[in-house]
Amino acid sequence: MAIDAHVHPVLWSETLEFDRAGLAAWGDLYSAHLMGAMDWDEVSVEMDAGSVTSAFVMALDLTATVGGTVVSNDAVAALVAAHPERLVGFASVDPHRSDAAAELERCLGGLGLRGLFLHPSKQQFSLDESCVEPLLGLCERHEAPVYVHAGMSWQPCAYGEDARPARFERVIAEHPGVRFALTQFGWPWVDEMVMLLLKYPNCYTDTAVNTIGSPQEMMERLFLHDLGPRWLELSLSRQVMFASNTPRFRAFKMLRALDGIPMPPEVRHRVYEGNALAFLEGGDA
């Protein structure tokens, strides 16, 4: 059993009912013209095949940079309403929007979304900009976690230097009451990500590292080479969440690769499920 903590539902048919322009935007922004839309029966069967019980699904608001959303907050809210047993929704608000705080309040209050997803390199802002502070304040008040894209992105105009984990340290340190998750171990800056995990218990990361090779190759590289042999077990086991970054990568293939990484059963349980719940709801894994 696993929770997939990081999914972009951009190519789901139900999302496209709301955001018809999203597919075209996905093709242009993500360089993915050949991928097709999936009906919910396909999505759910794929989750079943990987024993993925639920997934955190992310909106993406690029209002200030490209003038629209790839997946809107309303689309994510509709997805969650249709499949509440399997989906948890994260809002996206472009911090440079003049109504950013009001939109986030609408999402966390009225729409029932559970957290905030930020993509500093794609949305082209710095996490320590003043416009972000009201959003973090709202998240703290709503006890809503904040997911932040970190590390390499294949998207055009998403520059790596804006996504280095170390760039986010000050904000994480100054908001100990907010739970942050940085994606994909901040790859390729895994050492910076480990530094943040060691220093800040309110900081999490995920396993969606699959930027260059097969899932097996990347999981082995991450857990058996980039990390020391017992770092996960002894120091990081409460802060690492399974995630696929779907649709880039299929969750069951990522899980199959992760299954091959040796770790104690209690650590595996935390990585696969417990840490995602702790990140979402607070408390211990």
């Binding site: 993915a32 396909e42 097969s214 899932p215 649709p247 880039r248 299929r250």
Partner: protein, 142 residues
């Protein structure tokens, strides 16, 4: 006369052999064609059409043979990021197995029926599931 039917099948596992024999027979019967050919064609590159005896042991042997040819992990050139897809090519075994088994089959149609050998089963063979697959069943004749 040409009658074309498009069918969609949802596989439920990474690899799966789905028996579509009766669907092929039904399309032929409903087509009105009494003499000709029926073609079964899948429109994908990581699944295929297989004809063989529909026994679990035969299916198991087929799976083992295909796994020997294209194991899950291998030295695959396709296993790199593909900008055109926005994803890493992590389905090389599916492409290779699809090539080995082929993507279509043909049967004669006589007296309005698809004529198959007594042991023949038509499988849609999934090698990169689960996902929805499109199969064309086309009946040509008079």
């Amino acid at each position: 006369m040409v009658v074309l039917e498009e069918r969609r099948y949802l596989s439920r596992a990474p690899e799966e052999f789905m028996d579509i024999t009766e669907d092929v027979r039904a399309v032929v019967r409903d087509s009105g064609v009494t003499a000709g050919l029926v073609a079964v064609i899948c429109s994908h590159t990581t699944c295929g059409i297989v004809i063989n005896e529909g026994l679990p042991c035969v299916e198991a042997d087929l799976r083992r043979m295909l796994d020997r040819i294209a194991p899950l992990e291998g030295d695959y050139a396709h296993a790199h990021f593909l900008p055109s897809y926005g994803a890493t090519g992590n389905n090389s075994p599916g492409h290779l197995k699809s090539t080995v088994v082929g993507s279509h089959c043909v049967f004669p149609v006589i007296d309005g029926e698809a004529v198959m050998g007594g042991a023949q089963t038509v499988w849609l063979a999934e090698f990169d599931g689960p996902q929805k697959r499109k199969v064309y069943i086309e009946v040509l004749g008079e």
